[in-house]
Amino acid sequence: MDINQKDLQVFSLEGSDYQTLLTKKFLTRTKYQPDDPTRIIAQIPGTIVKIMVKEGQSVNPAKCLFIIDAMKMKNKVHSTMTGIISKIHIREGQIVAKNELLLELEEPRSDKKSKKTERPAEREGKDSQRSRFGKKGKKIKKTTAHSRSGTR
């Protein structure tokens, strides 16, 4: 095999830089991603049979969020954390693929605790959601940081 100098890449190991080729398997390896409890991902492909929660609802790990029919079994999926459902991406009867984002959660805000329990106005809900959506990126980052330090 002739080595084409152009194809060589730097492969660093303990401070030494080696000239070498990278294998396809190495390049396509599964890269590590830390668990993010604010994002509920489909662990298995299947059909969403029933959704037990609404957006804005506060949940805890004892709460069943939805039931997914997969591998001939009805699987109950519980919340990953104590928090508020910020977004539901699924509807009943929907077929979902593995690793699809199904629900998003956010940390409960201590000052909002009293409000949350009342929370009757659906009209207001939609509006506030939209405004929250705009800033969501920032907020999610914050919550992940919180929950990560919490789980460790």
Binding site: M1, I3, L8, F11, L13, E14, G15, S16, D17, Y18, Q19, T20, L21, L22, T23, K24, K25, F26, R29, T30, K31, Y32, I44, P45, M71, I95, A97, K98
Partner: protein
């Protein structure tokens, strides 16, 4: 009836069965680009060497109107033959007869020839081309598979077992090839998987073609289930013949010795390996520079290419080469390369093939995926395989030999028989850069110009430790040799090690970390 008439009847009966599934089915087989089972056996074996068993076997299916069906030879051809004069036992599933499906008698024919191979102590070759279990025969078909797997296991390490996948081989059927020593696949013809694309689609919603799921390329490069890849059946048969020429008939014999031949002078050993351990080169050229006729028969060429394994000859005698390959991932050990090497080492040990190990690696591949995939237990296999091997074991450290990787690659500490080092060898816990950063951390941090100090300290460390003499001073390297003397020393050592005889304990078997 006169004997003449009876003989004529035999000839007629034979002709009918020899046609297998009939002309239409044969045409269908050929349209798929495949040879018939009989043609395969004829192409693979020496001329006129095939002797068939159980030509007139009849299937025993009674349910679902199977009793009214004729299945010539019950869909499998079995017998004995020769390859380059070496005896082998062989079976070939006949896809033209009921899709090569496995019923009880089909399995009985296979187990009979397997028992025969074990009795005669000759290699077994199985050509797989089957739709799977014959559903009409139900549990009898499963029994048949089980009896084959059991014999595959009993024969392991006693006779070489070769599987050739020339068609579909799915579900439980894959476990016979999986239990054998070498699996041959052919592009676009071989298909192997436990569950097929249809099941995967219904259960998981993932869509994939047969070729992408279990084709020859996948098993040669990704899964490591196959050992030899060919573009055509004919090329595949040539590969099988070459393999047979390198390995012995059974565990109590040595491989056939050929006339010694010098390597070709196109491979100049002094020019192959760059002195800088960070520069790559093709380690197979080092093997070719020392092996007879520069012949190197590589196994699993596409799978885990960061380690190279295969056969060559030294002074006419078959040896197994294991070598880190610096072109790929700088030659690191990882999950796949560890599995690949360990399995090869154990085959060589079981069949009296001496091992030559060429070392040039920076250590193990770092990564979350590696750790999660269990690189600890997979890496342990290499240590285990070398440590338990009783065949002559010779190591040549070409350049870098760092950390745990150095220990694993048949080091003196694992009781190698001879450890040679080239003057370019560097035996250390890690590369000079990493080592200097740790040892001289304080000096580097507190220096006025830390970068300058770092470089100075790296150089200091290199000058002192990046050589083979520190290890040679402790007896961890038996001799430091000139690269051009490598072949001479290898042949000499193999000769000296002819009488090697290591007493083995009477334990049932070790518990290799699988």
């Amino acid at each position: 009836m006169s004997l003449k008439r009876k003989t004529r009847e035999l000839v007629e009966r034979r002709e009918q069965v020899l046609l297998g599934g009939g002309e239409t089915a044969i045409k269908k087989q050929q349209a798929m680009g495949k040879l018939t089972a009989r043609a395969r056996i004829i192409s693979l074996l020496d001329d006129d060497s095939f002797q068939e068993y159980d030509l007139f076997a009849q299937h025993e299916g009674r349910d679902f109107d199977m009793d009214k069906k004729e299945l010539p030879g019950d869909g499998v051809i079995t017998g004995t033959g020769k390859i380059y004069g070496s005896p082998v036992c062989i079976f070939a599933q006949d896809f033209t007869v009921a899709g090569g499906s496995l019923g009880l008698m089909h399995a009985r024919k296979i187990t009979k020839i397997m028992d025969h191979a074990l009795k005669l102590k000759v290699p077994l070759i199985g050509i797989n081309d089957s739709g799977g279990a014959r559903v009409q025969e139900g549990v009898n078909s499963l029994a048949g598979y089980g009896e084959i797997f059991y014999r595959n296991t009993l024969a392991s390490g006693v006779i070489p077992q070769i599987s050739v996948i020339l068609g579909p081989c799915a579900g439980g059927a894959v476990y016979s090839p999986a239990l054998t020593d070498f699996v041959f696949v052919v592009d676009r013809i071989s298909k192997m998987f436990i569950t097929g694309p249809e099941v995967i689609k219904t259960v998981l919603g993932e869509e994939i073609s047969m070729e992408e799921l279990g084709g020859a390329t996948i098993h040669s490069s990704i899964t490591g289930n196959a050992h030899f890849f060919a573009h055509s059946e004919q090329e595949c048969f040539e590969q099988i013949k070459t393999l047979i020429s390198f390995i012995p008939w059974n565990h109590s014999q040595r491989a056939k010795r050929l006339r010694p031949r010098s390597p070709k002078n196109t491979y100049k050993i002094d020019d192959i390996v760059p002195a800088d351990p960070k520069q790559p080169y093709d380690v197979r050229n080092v093997i070719r520079a020392v092996a007879d006729s520069s012949e190197f028969f590589e196994i699993q060429e596409q799978f885990a290419p960061n380690i190279v394994i295969g056969y060559g000859r030294m002074n006419g005698q078959t040896v197994g080469f294991v070598a880190n390959q610096p072109i790929y991932l700088a030659g690191v050990l990882d999950v796949d390369s560890s599995d690949k090497a360990a399995r090869f080492i154990r085959f060589c040990d079981a069949f009296n093939i001496p091992l030559i190990t060429l070392v040039d690696l920076p250590g193990y591949l770092p990564g979350v995926d590696q750790e999660y995939a269990g690189v600890i237990r997979h890496g342990a296999k290499v240590l285990y395989a070398y440590s338990e091997a009783t065949v002559p074991r010779i190591t040549i450290i070409l350049r870098k030999a760092y950390g745990g990787g150095y220990i694993a690659m048949n080091s003196r500490h694992l009781n190698a028989d001879m450890v040679f080092a080239w003057p370019s060898a560097e035996i250390a816990v890690m590369g000079p850069e990493g080592a200097a950063n740790i040892i001289f951390k304080k000096e580097i941090m507190s220096a006025e110009d830390p970068e300058k100090m770092r470089k100075l300290k790296i150089k200091e460390y290199k000058d002192k430790f990046a050589n083979p003499y520190v290890a040679a001073a402790k007896g961890y390297v038996d001799a430091v040799i000139e690269p051009s003397e490598t072949r001479k020393y290898l042949i000499y050592s193999l000769d000296v090690l002819e009488t090697k005889d290591v007493p083995r304990s009477n334990r049932k078997h070790g518990c290799i970390p699988l």
